[in-house]
């Protein structure tokens, strides 16, 4: 009996030992042994795309990628990621040593380009006719004399205006606004003309990009600045005249907030909130890329019919979405070829990516912008109160670029991505803290970050 027990015990021990050994061997294989690629395997490109608010843009990208893959006998795997996720997932993938081959319509870029993780694509830019691409867009993708990405579009900001309310208030002469200060005047004039409709929807929430770039209109528009170079000495936000400009920007937003010209929950808004408020008819004006207008046409045509779009005296380009290739790709030439293929047929790009978005996106090519402008003059885009080509001329700032430097930097990307600027806006505008104290605090924070990233 006891002998049997002993035998059983021995068997169990043997089984456990074998399982443990297998586990260790398995893990060791997993960690240290990399399978050798078979020479005959079909090349495969892993692509991550940033989902856009305009589905037709994604359909167009999918179509182009699949077309190219079929022609070149390449496997492609496309994953669409949400706006809020793509940055973090890319960072995590890079840290894990497993980034995708290509990113389409994605961001951030500087953080990878400045670390030398991206493939230079000067040849693609050259083949697309460099001089046909707007300089401001090229600048967004160049670091130390090389191009590392191609922006997918201009995403200029427009003032969406309820024209029926404007007419009711007799404020037609105000539009298009002559100065940034006129925005406050207009908000006051249009406030509660219709019961329950606020003058403007001013995003002030912590967790939305809209808060930042809306404020950028004023900060930059009043002559403010954050960085002039990638050095501690380049931090200028607390130096005159930049400090005064920033205080002025705080002041106009604070007036709108404290006088209740924007809905009382604006301080909790996320990116979709101002879109939603406009579409639901709760605000008379909204500053936003034309994604609101696109949504109106599909969700609320009645409101679309009484909406007009104007440019502010300053326009911010929110189009930081770009196409870029990671150096780790096994197939650099194929990846480059695909990127080139996306933009090579410029007319197709205009039709599939720009026009299909109802001009939420504007083209990066001057030749295609000329077509849009011509069509506008012919009365094709009635809601646009001004020539879309003018929007490009008025673009003075880009959402993730340091200004007045005009280039994307790791610091400007992380301050925006981490909602640090939003924190600053909330402290000054919503909480009403002393402007100088707030400016000193964030200037110091910016200096520390510049020092950390670029050294003294």
């Amino acid at each position: 009996m006891s002998e049997q027990k002993g035998k059983q015990k021995s068997r169990v021990i043997l089984a456990v030992a074998i399982i443990a050994l297998l586990a260790v061997v398995g893990l060791a294989v997993l960690f240290f042994v990399k399978p050798a690629p078979t020479p005959a395997e079909k090349p495969k490109l892993v692509i991550w795309g940033r989902a856009t608010f305009v589905p037709p843009q994604m359909y167009w990208v999918e179509k182009k990628v699949r077309e190219w893959a079929a022609k070149n006998n390449v496997d492609v795997e496309i994953t669409w990621l949400a706006v809020a996720d793509i940055g973090k997932k890319l960072i995590a993938a890079v840290e894990a040593g497993n980034p995708p081959d290509i990113v389409i319509n994605g961001h951030p870029v500087a953080i990878f380009a400045e670390r030398g993780l991206l493939l230079p694509i000067d040849d693609i830019v050259k083949n697309l006719n460099e001089s046909d691409i707007y300089e401001v867009k090229l600048k967004q993708c160049s670091w130390e004399g090389h191009y590392y990405c191609i922006p997918t579009m201009f995403e200029a900001t427009w003032l969406h205006v309820r024209w029926d309310i404007v007419e009711k208030a007799g404020a037609q002469d105000l539009f298009p606004l002559k100065t940034l200060d006129d925005l406050y005047v207009a908000a006051k004039k249009l406030h509660m003309v219709e019961p329950g409709v606020y003058g403007i929807g001013l995003p002030l929430g912590l967790n939305g990009y809209d808060t930042w770039w809306t404020f950028q209109h004023f900060w930059g528009g009043y002559g403010g600045g954050m960085l002039t170079s990638r050095s501690v000495n380049g931090v200028i936000m607390d130096k005159e005249p930049y400090r005064s400009a920033l205080k002025r920007a705080f002041e106009i937003e604070r007036k709108i907030w404290t006088e209740g010209l924007t809905p009382p929950d604006s301080d909790q808004w996320v990116d979709v909130s101002n879109n939603k408020a406009y579409i639901e008819g709760k605000i008379a004006m909204a500053i936003n890329p034309a994604s609101i207008y696109y949504a109106l046409m599909t969700q609320n045509p009645k409101l679309a019919a009484v909406t007009k779009l104007f440019l502010l005296p300053v326009s911010v380009d929110c189009g930081d979405e770009s196409v870029f290739i990671f150096k780790t790709t096994k197939y650099p030439e194929l990846a480059k070829d695909l990127v080139y293929y996306l933009f090579a047929d410029k007319d197709d790009y205009r039709r599939g990516f720009v026009e299909a978005s109802a001009l939420y996106a504007l083209p990066i090519f001057k030749s295609q912008m000329a077509v849009i402008s011509r069509d506008w003059k012919a009365g094709k885009y009635l809601a646009f109160g001004e020539d879309p080509a003018k929007a490009i001329e008025k673009v003075k700032f880009m959402e993730t670029a340091a200004f007045p430097l005009g280039e994307r930097t790791t610091v400007s990307e992380t301050f925006r991505e981490g909602f640090i600027w939003n924190e600053m806006i909330q402290r000054a505008v919503v909480k009403g803290e002393n402007y100088d104290t707030v400016i000193d605090f964030y200037a110091q924070k910016l200096r520390e970050e510049v020092k950390r990233v670029y050294g003294g």
Binding site: V16, K88, F112, D265, Q268, T414
Partner: protein, 285 residues
Amino acid sequence: MKRRLKDSMYRWFYVLPTVVLVFFIFIVPIIYEVWLSFQAKPVGGEPVFAGLYNYQRLLSSETFYKTVANTIIYSFSSVFVKALIGLGAALLLNEKFWGRGFLRGFSILPWAFPSFVCAVLFWFNYDYRGTFNTLLKALGLQPVHWLSYNNAMLSVVILNIWHGWPFFFMGYLAGLQAIPVDLYEAADIDGATALQKFRHITLPMLKPVILTVVLLSLMWTMGEFTQIYMTTGGGPIDATLTIPIQTYKIAFQTEVNMPLAAAYSILVLPIYLALIYFTLRQMGE
């Protein structure tokens, strides 16, 4: 002696697979994290030894102390209220009355929802035109900015209480049902009041359960991420910035600085380890 050694060897053989797995999926990452916290490392770049720099940075930043304070306020206040509500509900539903079974099942419902569902649900509740303000208006009261700077902490605490109190209720109810009835009968004979019975029988008998449940919940609440991230994102400004949220932000948003995030985790590790130790000791007792 030989036999005892043999026995303990057997035991080790039995747990060997688990030990191997735990080592690879738990110990190795912790060792890596400790090592990483002493490095400086840009995204995708090579790590460089930086000594105590990350720790110095954290300990000299106001935000670090703010997040620790927020975490303590958030977790202790919500655990305290959850413990009280759970106890009240358990005492109530331990009594026999018609519909008790249904109420017991219904009470567990909030806990059955995943955290992110609760967060989305409360997003709608906390909206300025949402459920809560609609109710307040119906009662003739002023609407509240639930997620504004002054109220955000209270709002995320309320959300956590709503989601977590059934866990306390279930634990306490199980504990109450394990108390021998004859103790109460003896107390009745001695003429004890309800309050005296609660003080001298229920509470002492329930103490081990209370401590275990409280410590477990404290650990979970201190590590809560989803509910806060999805409702306030740690804001407005830094009103609800807790340790898990700030660690995530440092790693992926504000600095993209993994070593600093690792240092953050390591710095607060003793708090969590102390809680784990007390919980295990409590369970052992």
